[in-house]
């Protein structure tokens, strides 16, 4: 196991390096560069050249990349062009908030999707299954921003149950102590996941219900609820566990829209604003964090899978 994790971590470092490399070169290929974005349309060529020289942008790209890497390994991601802050501090402030949002959304999605998927699998082919499948497809195919607007109109304006504005507090405690503000962003972010997870679980449970070992247990005299609990669900959940790991980049993508929409002070909003203003150091910093989270997510999923499924552990004949 230690060896396995070691090998996977090495792979992870390579993957992250490649991601940073690609994004770095792509960003620096954007016409105009950050100077125009930051100094504005009125800036003279002289001002732009001075800016570029000060930032080292007149050096060859590989040299710039080398510099960036050199800083990065010491934990220095540079300064934001726009905000008078270090990228590391910005990310450190925003990341936990995004984690809270996506974490709560994933939790909610699981709490809804697992019973839903099992229920549909058991009632497969009946009216209730078809209706739920339809709701599922509607949820899945609704764009996040549209769903968010609908939720705001219905649950914040018509029925003022929740707030249309996400919690604006600076600390996690402040954010968590405002459930009325959190509800809509979390629900919006969870909707897509509910659709995907429950769909996935439904087919997984159906597959497992047809497994020979379920028939064996049934032939031992087990009741259907017992079969589901003891034999089907655990085998089906292994599939979901790895799915969650691989879902991290998608969840971040969703957070980008949700945070912007509800003005939630997370990393998605940070990324959005940075992209608007060509704030390259911030963009790179966020991409780096997402790359790490993605790689780490799939690694954790694989490890969890190994812990749940004895077949992937070492065989001791």
């Amino acid at each position: 196991m230690t060896r396995y994790v070691g090998v996977r971590l090495l792979q992870a470092i390579v993957v992250i390096f490649i991601v940073v490399l690609i994004v770095f070169f792509l960003l620096h290929r954007i016409p105009g560069g950050p100077a125009r974005g930051i100094l504005g349309q009125q800036a003279t060529q002289q001002q732009i050249d001075d800016f570029n020289h000060a930032q080292g942008f007149d050096l060859p790209l590989p040299v710039q990349f080398g510099r960036y890497l050199g800083q990065m390994v010491t934990g220095d991601f540079g300064d934001s062009y726009v905000e008078n802050q270090r990228v590391g501090d910005l990310v450190a402030d925003r990341l936990p908030k995004t984690l809270v949002l996506t974490g709560l959304a994933t939790l909610l999605a699981l709490l809804v999707a697992v019973p839903l998927g099992v229920f549909q699998a058991v009632r497969r082919g009946r009216a209730s299954d078809h209706v739920l499948s339809m709701v599922n497809f509607v949820l899945y195919s609704t764009p996040v921003f549209f769903l968010g607007f609908v939720l705001i109109i219905v649950f914040a304006q018509r029925i003022p149950l929740f707030s249309a504005q996400a919690p604006q507090g600076g600390t996690l405690v402040e954010i968590l102590s405002d459930p009325r503000g959190l509800a809509l962003p979390v629900i919006t972010a969870a909707a897509g996941m509910i659709a995907v997870f429950s769909r996935y679980l439904r087919s997984s449970v159906i597959d497992n219900l047809h497994e020979d070992f379920v028939r064996t247990a049934r032939a031992k005299g087990a009741s259907e609820p017992y079969l589901l609990r003891k034999h089907v669900l655990r085998n089906s959940l292994t599939a979901i566990v790895s799915m969650i790991g691989y879902y991290i980049p998608v969840a971040f993508g969703g957070a980008l829209v949700v945070e912007q929409m509800f003005n939630y002070p997370g990393m998605g909003l940070l990324f959005w604003n940075a992209a608007q203003r060509s704030d390259f150091p911030v963009l790179l910093g966020v991409v780096f964090v997402i790359a790490v989270a993605t790689v780490l997510g799939s690694l954790l999923a694989d490890i969890a899978q190994r812990l749940i499924d004895p077949r992937t552990r070492k065989v001791t004949p």
Binding site: F213, A217, R218, A219, P310
Partner: protein
Amino acid sequence: MTPVVEFRNLSVRFGDTEAVSDVSFAVEPGEIVAIVGESGSGKSVSALTTLGLLPSTAKVSGAVSHAGVPITSMTPAQLRDLRGNGIAMVFQEPMTALNPLLTIGTQVAEGLRLHRGISRAEAAREALRLLELVGIPEPERRVHQYPHELSGGQRQRVVIAMAVSCDPEVIVADEPTTALDVTVQAEILALLRRLRDELGTAIVLITHSMGVVAELADRVIVMYRGEVVEDGDVFELFEHPRHAYTRSLLDAVPRFTKDVRPGPAAGEGPAALQLDGVVVDFGRFRAVEGVTLEVAPGEILGLVGESGSGKTTIGRVAVGLVRPSAGSVRLFGTELNGLRGAALRTTRARAAMVFQDPASSLDPRMTVGDTIAEPMVLQKVGDRLLRQRRAAELVDAVALPSDALSRYPHELSGGQRQRVSIARALALDPGLLIADEPTSALDVSVQATVLELLRSLQRELGFSCLFISHDLAVVDALADRVAVMHRGAVVESGERTAVFTEPRDDYTRALLAAVPVPDPRAQRKR
């Protein structure tokens, strides 16, 4: 005595097809009753009825009763109480019959926990006792292991331990040894017999194998197309089969013969296949350990061995699908080692393969005609018209109706599909045919006709053949020479009758002794 299981005029329909029609028989306490029949005979459906495990689409009339109580009209709660408690079941596939995520101990004691409501500690003790009862070595260690850590034979013992856990009056065993090697099969059959003798449990044995019937059954029920065609004492039935179907079933079983067949017409040129000191490693696992063998021109070499013996790997090495880590492979005198790309493909085209499962080795979206023509397309042989003509010839050669050309695999029976595989293999007129368990997935009567076809094609076309099989009787029926593999090595090889009548190697002797012979008297003497 009340019979433990009684079928009275049972019929089971699925839609318009009647799977079981008007079946009546009874199983007395402690009796071993075999239900034999080929696929579609209704034997498995009958077995599932005893536990009320039929799918909800089944329409049942008549009755099956357990100790006088009709099972067919039980409530779900009554059924649960019966299952595993009054009647227990052993299934065919030990590899999939156990939950991969639960320990052996948990699963063995599960029935007891469900029916007797015993404590965890008691269940653990019982699991240990049951594993000992079914003869699993080191039960203390095994209870904590997971199914994947056990061999197929051990898993089937675990399944049997589960079946006897609640001391049922009857065990219904559906093809309990079909997925196992012959030596393991012999052990499992002996175990079932011992459990019957010790515990007095009646056994309903569902099987397609007359050898297994002869070994274990007291009484035999022969089913054909949903009906019972014969019901009688095992000795009586084997010696004086009354029904024509029973006779044909017995005739189709391949048996060891001492008769000498004419040897192969002496072919010319280099050996079709020559392996010299071939070693194959898969990672740290050595699958083949220094194998040397030769298939002479026009000869059929039977390669026998159990699962994991490396026989399939040898077949794949022979066509260059697997590269040996050491040793040389020559196909018609050409060394395969070092050949790449086009040169390898051209050489490889002189050998063709027929695989075990015709259901999965044919592309479901290709017509039979396209399937047969595909090797010619790949090797760029002839034009479209010529290929069509050749496909038609081949379909004719394997005795399929000519309208089969435009059909899809799912429209054909298993035997017909295997004929298509053979036709495809012969498309490029190969000098060497490698057949890997080509008849193992087929019913005996179908198997007999496919073997007959292979033999007559070989005589007519004169190709060499490497025939890989675990079934010694099948190899005996077809091969000129035999090589026996065990743990990656060839332990014995030679002329067919010599190897099968005077085996020199201990393993060959053990293998031969384990083969169930379709003769109850000979079996009981062993």
